[in-house]
Structure formats: C-alpha cells, structure tokens
C-alpha cells in the first residue's frame, strides 16, 4: 500500500492484506475485518474492492465497513462459488489480495443534506448500505427523515444482528425488517419489502432512496417508490454485473452505455430503468 493513502501505481496489482477478525453473519455469509500494513486508501460508502483468494481467483466485493478507529476494513461475503467460498473460509492471520476501492458510491454527502433518506436493502444488499447508513447516522441532524427497510429470506439470514437490534431501537431511524418466511417464533414482519414502504413517514418529493438487493427486488421497490411520488432521479440502485478488471477496460461489466465497475455500481434509476428490463444486457 502506498504511503499516505495515495493511489497505488498499478491498480491491477493486489496488495496483501491480513484477516484480523472473522464473524459468521448467517449460515453462508461471513464478515472479514482486514488489516493493511499501511494506511487504507480512502473509500466511499457504496464502493467495492476486488478481493483475491490466493490461488483461487478474484471477486468484486462491496465494502461493508470502512476503517474505523481500529483501522480494519470490513467485507461481507456470501459463499456461493469457488472464490467466495475460499474468501469466506479465510481465518484470522491468513492473507488475501486486495485491489481498490473502485466505482461510484452512494450519494450520502452534500446531496443528502436536508433530504428524507430511505435505504431499502434486500438480502446481502444490506452490506453495501451499511457504511451509508452509518455515515448518515453520524450526521443525522443535517437530514430530514431517515429510514431503513430490510428484507431477507428468513430469520437465520439476517445480517449484522447486533447492529440491526440497535438500529431498531434508535429513535432517529425508522427501521423495518421483514422476512419471506418464518416459524412461529418470529414476531416481526413477514412479506416483501414493498409492503412496508407505505408505513414510512417521509416527504416523497424531498426523498433520496438508496436501493440494494436482487434486481427483481430493486425494480419493484423503485417502481413502488415512484408510485408513492419519489422522483426517478432521486432513486439510486447498486447494480451488479460480472466485474473483472474493475478499471473500465475489459468491458465484462458493460450495462448499456455504462460500465458498472467505473460508472457504477451505484446508478440513478432514471438512467437505467429502460435497461433493467432488457434481458440481453
């Protein structure tokens, strides 16, 4: 890592980083807290890194926690294939490679001042929204309403449980959690995230909506928010495509006129809506 957080000379070359903590979030999802020998390059909520599992391969993984006082960067990884399984299996003390950060993050800076900010997460989509929510809570007084709606498959799949419990108690935040299916021990909401949107107290014309989750969920949520009066230009989606170079050079993650790694992953709904229903893209 270059000293002082300067851009590395070759963004195609991973730097070695070390797993310091590993936490099981759900049956197939792990959070790794990583340590870097030097300072981390500055990152923004919503950006991603390319993580390299030695000898296995590389995958684009969103940053789920920016370095705090402990200097550790967090990534949350669901084991779905060879690379993510190898990354999720890493234990404290083991090394991996990292390139990044890459891409455009969430509009949670000056763009959010005075706005009613809604975060809608589905499944693993809570991971990229976590740093955004933490940043928004840090400057809560400069915002209007603040809401998180989080949906996932079932209670065992809920991520960041301790933090989620704190968010649900936090009076500064309207926090709603729902699952697709549950046993009778679950006392919370059951159903899709769009059912909870009418319960949010916010000004649609002044809203800023950040969505992250499976594309079907984001399409339906964006449409529901639009029907509630949120302008399409105020809805942002974190898109996912197969990223390879992460530098906008290889074209693997092309999405219409955009390259997700360079122009995204966070894109404005009004700019991508026509493309979301094009199956060939």
């Amino acid at each position: 890592m270059a000293a002082g957080g300067a851009q590395r000379p070759d963004p195609l070359v991973p730097i070695p980083v070390t797993v310091r903590r590993r936490r099981r979030e759900s049956p197939d999802t792990w959070s790794l807290q990583l340590e870097c020998a030097g300072p981390w390059p500055p990152s923004l909520p919503g950006q991603f890194n390319m993580l390299y599992a030695p000898g296995v391969g590389e995958a684009a993984i969103s940053i789920s926690g920016e370095p705090g006082r402990n200097g550790l960067l967090m990534h949350t990884i669901r084991s779905v294939g060879a690379v993510s399984r190898a990354l999720g299996d890493l234990r404290p003390g083991q090394q991996l490679g990292l390139r990044g950060p890459f891409g455009v993050g969430w509009p949670v800076g000056e763009e959010a001042e005075g706005r009613d900010v809604l975060l809608v997460a589905g499944g693993l989509g809570l991971a990229p929204l976590r740093p955004a929510l933490r940043a928004l809570l840090d400057r809560r007084r400069s915002l209007g309403a603040l809401a998180l709606v989080y949906g996932t498959r079932g209670p065992p799949d809920l991520l960041f449980r301790g933090e989620l419990a704190r968010w649900r108690r936090d009076r500064r935040l309207q926090c709603h959690v729902t699952v697709d299916q549950a046993g009778p021990e679950w006392q919370g909401e059951i159903g899709v995230v769009t059912r909870l949107l009418p319960r949010l107290v916010f000004r649609p014309g002044n809203a800023l909506a950040l969505l992250c989750g499976p594309e079907i969920m984001m399409r339906r949520t964006a449409a529901a928010l639009r029907d509630q009066g949120v302008p399409e230009s105020a809805i942002f989606l974190s898109m996912e495509r197969n990223m390879k170079c992460a530098l906008g050079q290889c074209g693997r993650c092309q999405f219409g006129p955009s390259l997700i790694c360079r122009d995204g992953p966070v894109l404005r709904y009004d700019q991508v809506r026509p493309l979301l229903v094009v199956r060939e893209i």
Binding site: V80, S84, Q181, G183, Q187, I190, T194, G213, P214
Partner: protein, 155 residues
C-alpha cells in the same frame, strides 16, 4: 368512545367510501380483540368474517408435518387479514394467528355479501378496494416463490 361507523371511516381502506356505505358496513361490524398467540381462524373453518386490523399484527401460516408452522405473511394496522370470505365456498385456506395483542373490526361476511348483492354500487366500491389487495398479495407471493434472496451462482 368512537362509534363503529367512525372507526370504519378512519381506516384508509374505507376512508373514501362515503358515509352511506360506511353506515351500511357498520351494520355488519363489531369490535374484536385477540391476545397474542390466539387464532383468528383455522384452515378449513367457514370464512364467515372479514377482519380489518386497527392495532397489532397477525401472521398467516400453514402447518407442515415435521416442520411446524410456516408463516408467510404478516398483516398489520389498516390491513385485512384474509379474503376467503369473498369467494365461494367461503372457507379459510390458512391459519391466522395474532403475534401480538391485536384489535380490529370484524364484519359478518354473510351480512356484507348480502348488502353487496342488494346494492351493486356497494359491491363494486368494495371490489375496487379489495382487488388491489389481492393483486398486491399475488405479486408478493410470486416474489417470495422466486426466492430472490437465495444465492445466485458466482459468475
């Protein structure tokens, strides 16, 4: 203390129904309470009531041998619990269990259906309110069946 007619008029589902229709519905209505864990109805029971919740939460569930109860939808204030009272043979398809202490308005389904038959304008007005609920729940079920939060293969 508010009258049933006032309570009905406060519910978003019936707020713009107009006082005449609200009064007709109030003639079929009564206040109900369910303590947490009690059942509003069971699968196979006659669907003789329409429940509109004012407070609390109700889970719709199915019993699965060896798996216990599986909850697939929760219903909260301002929402109706089930729709089987609307369509013959008027039998509940699922169990409905209060997950918290719950209050609501129960409408005698036979009474509501008879008033709708007698006054098609009321029937149409109610149909316009229940059909979006049915469509929204149908879309939600399709979304859930697709298991969109399941693991996508690594590309």
């Amino acid at each position: 203390m508010k009258t049933l007619e006032q309570l009905i008029a406060e519910q978003p589902l019936f707020a713009d129904l107009g006082p005449d229709f609200q009064r007709l519905l109030a003639g079929c209505a009564r206040n109900v309470r369910f303590s947490a864990g009690s059942y509003l109805f069971r699968e196979g029971d006659p669907a003789d009531s329409l429940y509109l919740l004012r407070e609390g939460r109700v889970a719709l569930e199915a019993a699965a041998p060896g798996r216990g109860a599986l909850d697939f939808l929760s219903v909260g204030p301002g929402e109706i619990v089930g729709v089987s009272w609307l369509v013959p043979p008027y039998r509940w398809a699922w169990d409905a269990r209060a997950t918290t202490d719950t209050r609501g308005i129960s409408f005698d389904a036979t009474c509501v259906r008879a008033k709708c038959e007698a006054d098609p304008a009321l029937g149409y007005a109610l149909m316009k309110r229940f059909l979006p609920v049915l469509l929204e729940r149908l879309h939600a079920v399709r979304w859930q069946v697709l298991d969109v939060y399941g693991s996508a293969p690594e590309s």
